[in-house]
Symmetry: C2
Subunit: 140 residues, 2 copies
């Protein structure tokens, strides 16, 4: 595919596995909704198709976000950081749900009681975002 000869891809720093981290941020709300990885092919596809296509490390395959759920992430703009080793996408989240748990964002666990001097054993991760749609309904 054309990705082989694209210089904007060559400029990026790929890790030892040929991957780059990618952050998805909702264009409207500004919420960071997801973090996943891309390889060269999936990033080229993301840009060509105008929607987030990740690389699933666990399944070792191209992962078009939303292929099962319909929760596609439409690409609005794409950035890279100063070191050119992290991607930041501004996206439109179709269905308003990015997480496989049926939440708007994957970042739904907040650390409670992190204030300095608080009892250490009182710190814990709390789910602070509602489930919008049950995973059973999403993945039929």
């Amino acid at each position: 595919m054309a990705a082989e000869t694209e210089s904007w891809l060559d400029e990026l720093k790929w890790d030892g596995q040929g991957l780059i981290p990618a952050i998805a941020q909702d264009e409207k709300t500004g919420k960071v909704v997801m973090f996943a990885w891309m390889n060269r092919e999936s990033l080229a596809m993301t840009v060509e198709m105008g929607r987030a296509i990740y690389w699933s490390r666990s399944r070792a395959k191209i992962w078009p976000k939303g292929e099962e759920s319909g929760h596609v992430q439409k690409l609005k703009s794409i950035r890279v950081d100063c070191d050119k080793d992290v991607i930041l996408m501004s996206i439109e989240q179709i269905g308003g749900i990015a997480c496989h748990t049926g939440r708007e964002s994957c970042f739904y666990f907040e650390l409670g009681e992190f204030k300095e001097g608080s009892q250490e054993n009182s710190k814990h991760w709390q789910a602070v975002e509602p489930v919008i749609k049950s995973p059973d309904e999403i993945y039929k």
Copy 2:
């Protein structure tokens, strides 16, 4: 240090190098300003001290953000994602500059002309954020 016995740290999934990615998002503007890595100790310090402390992979040492520049990131809240393998911090960026290039955010390169059907060789990363303060002034 106390980090050894903290269960909220045990709940996280650390990678093969004992690291976890961390995203810093400006509390006020919603901008994603930085991405770096933390090890167990630096994350424990981040929470204890209420400011972002990263692990520098290149220097292989604890990296208190802002120790030279003064551009400390004060921790406002801290989240983890559904897989418990990525950290998202809401921070107050002291000095309004997160990037070592003197920009507000490290994510200042935007891919131009990424629309489907555009000439492939017209795509390139453009710096789209101004330098607020010269690095020479920041790192004296």
